[in-house]
Symmetry: C2
Subunit: 461 residues, 2 copies
């Protein structure tokens, strides 16, 4: 008779048994939260509370059912309620001018010049420092932006509406490689691009959308995943699909917009990124406020701080210092010493089944990061280990259509000591501009703090 | 001491040894050409002749180096030398009107009406039967077409030029789903589409190409493979990449062409197929005439006959009856009884590293055919077993960039009893129109006949 033995976590025992010829199945078990007693106590309470499980089930159902539609585009000042007076919105949690990261300051001051609120960049700095131009997070008005995420009234934005939960979300148009607000560049060219987008391209999209009707953004993302996008670091297919959807109506109803749109989209494979961000923000806003829900609704960084909002605690951000982006690939001549901290509201897409969750969809991103398809599948598997469900909408072609991991459960993050990976770019710390890309990891501390606060709040009721 | 044994082909022996506890590596060996003595004699001569090996090496080098560029578009009658008088070109080898397949006859007679050579379809039939309108293969004038492949002077064609070998090739624009010449539909709508393409869309592309310069077609295909196309049955990405490349110049220099182009390409995921065909034809024409070369240059079907041209014998087609398409998926209500024989010049792309050779690039095509990614990889592996090389240009994302099988060696086809698979559509036998899709297999007989003729010709010199 031969022994069949399962061991859990203790590799030394498995090796010893294996050396003695026994058939051993080693299960990768570790004590939850590394055995930390406070965390174990927190998790015990969190797993025991049926209200959390019920809230999460409701949240997953809402995320599966969400259908955010691109309904319009135009000037932020005309479209975002509350964007009034001399106000500049930015990615990430609230941050004072003094603590704001270099690239975000640069994009903010360029916006101030563009709006005519200051005559030059130095005067813009002074106005922002003095508070005569105010700052607020994009999220404070229901918007979200990529990288610096700067929105002032003259910035072009997408309007996405999820009728399912009556949520609207906005995101600034992605202004391309090189001299661009989203990358923290404050040049005349970056201002010129904003004007072209607000005055020509966005009105063209808006006219086309009015004529043809709204575009189902997450259905478009699902197609893009089947074409090698991860819908965070790569949006080549999504951008082309968007143009294909809208071009006939634009050519008919706003022909003057076709040339600038063609020029902008042909040279900007990230163009559809912020549309995805707006759509995911709308879907995720639909779970914010579900009682007891331990899913991470938003991950949001401003280059200085990284913040997390948990769905069951709608009014609080939990923050930690923004980490540097991991596994970095830098342009020649740049290193960690030049890198700004992780930045942008875009990491919310990782909470909605895209980005790192969809890594296995994009061998191209894997190859860009210097890895193999298996590395990409491993990243998706890691996201699956902290996800409560699989998307019914986003299939992974190389896994014969298996859904991407959907949602991020703070309980699983704390238990496994894992947080969402974020496929993202890297900006220069002081000069702005993109100097590389890599995979950031959201800090664990604010996720644990958020879960503790949720469990505490449930205990009080 | 334990035995390590390799067995070749004889599974019973491997199983018996395995049952006795020996470590067995089973090699899948079969006698060449099923042990047929004539074929074994042919292969013995073919493998012994250094001129064949040298010719094939040269052919592979030329295929790797070919760089067919899209240089223009317009009316076939203005662009294809020799397309003069009342002449209609068709896919496949030469065929008389009486033996021509139903869909090809329908498209041919619609072209005759469009040209004004007959007042209606019946009169067109009569003119074609009487020979007052002549028929000739596309290949006879350096062109190649998808499915029916009908070209008359007013049909819009792509012009592709490979300066490397000074070859030009042409292919008719793909006129979309439903009522289309390439699908054998002879309706007023199919004629209207041809007019729109020749009078509006093709001139728009031509103006754009003049302004921006040529497009590297196989580089575009390489990008499309990374986005889930196989570049035969699926051209979604290639079509969008083509539009992205050309749209800025078109919007600037031929704005009137944008609307019809947007409408045609938004609704026609196969639009770039015939551009790929023209480019592959140019690349493959570059190996035609290499002394001793046993690579299959063209596979060409007209719904009645299937034909093969081997590169070392530039002036001969070897034919067999066109098979039905295998693994068929039919629209509801259709069956094999309704299916025309395998049709189109498109199978030449399988000789150039695309289509079935690139099956593993397209989980979408695999899923459409009802299979898994592994089935798609198996199809690519089968193509690799008869290919002399791997493409240095076309990478397979799910195999971490491994090249697609490039070229088809008639020697390997005969030895293994295998011929190229062809990812293709199925037309209605009498009525025209697409009724399904599947994977055709080129017949072995003409490949063996071609190899025998090549070896015979080498023996005479």
């Amino acid at each position: 008779m031969s022994l069949r033995i399962a061991t859990a976590g203790l590799d030394l025992m498995a090796e010893a048994l294996h050396a003695q010829g026994a058939e051993v199945v080693a299960v990768d078990w570790r004590p939850p939260a590394g055995g930390d007693p406070d965390a174990v106590r927190l998790l015990t309470a969190a797993w025991a509370d049926d209200r959390i499980e019920a809230g999460n089930r409701e949240a997953v159902a809402r995320l599966q059912a969400a259908r955010p539609m691109l309904v319009g585009a135009g000037r932020a000042g005309d479209l975002i309620p509350g964007l009034e007076g001399r106000l500049v919105l930015h990615a990430g949690p609230p941050v004072e001018w003094e603590r704001m990261s270099g690239p975000q300051r640069r994009a903010a001051r360029a916006a101030v010049v563009m709006e005519g609120w200051a005559g030059d960049l130095e005067a813009a700095d002074a106005a922002l420092a003095a508070g005569t131009v105010a700052l607020a997070p994009c999220h404070s008005l229901g918007a979200a932006g990529a990288m610096t995420g700067i929105i002032s009234p003259s910035v072009a934005v997408w309007v996405v509406r999820d009728e399912e939960r009556a949520v609207t979300a906005w995101s600034p148009f992605c202004d391309g490689p090189g001299e661009a607000f989203w990358l923290g560049v404050d040049s005349p060219e970056s201002i010129r691009r904003q004007r072209v987008m607000a005055e020509m391209i966005a009105p063209g999209f808006d006219a086309a959308l009015r004529a043809r009707g709204p575009v189902d953004v997450l259905a478009l993302c699902a197609q893009a995943l089947a074409m090698g996008d991860d819908c965070h670091m790569r949006h080549q297919a999504a951008t082309m699909l968007l143009v294909r959807e809208v071009l006939p109506a634009m050519a008919e109803h706003a022909p003057e917009a076709v040339l600038p749109t063609a020029q902008m989209t042909a040279g900007n494979g990230h163009f559809a990124l912020t549309l995805t961000i707006a759509a995911c923000r709308a879907a995720l806003q639909g779970i914010v406020g579900i009682p007891g829900c331990s899913l991470v609704a938003f991950i949001s960084r401003n280059g200085t701080d990284a913040a997390v909002k948990i769905a069951g605690l709608p009014d609080r951000w939990f923050t930690a210092p923004a980490p540097l982006v991991g596994d970095p690939l830098y342009r020649p001549g740049f290193s960690d010493a030049d890198a700004a901290g992780d930045i942008g509201d875009s990491a919310l897409v990782e909470c909605a089944g895209l980005g790192a969750a969809a890594s296995a969809c994009s061998p191209s991103v894997a190859a860009f990061l210097g890895g193999s398809l298996q590395d990409a599948i491993d990243r998706t598997d890691l996201m699956a280990s902290i996800a409560p469900a699989r998307s019914e909408r986003f299939g992974i072609p190389v896994l014969d259509g298996l859904g991407t991991p959907l949602g991020v459960d703070a309980r699983l993050c704390v238990e496994l000591g894992r947080t969402p990976l974020i496929n993202t770019g890297i900006l220069h710390r002081t000069d702005g501009g993109q100097i590389g890309a890599g995979v950031a990891q959201a800090p664990l501390e604010p996720v644990r703090d958020a879960l503790a606060a949720l469990v505490g709040a449930l205990g009080d009721t």
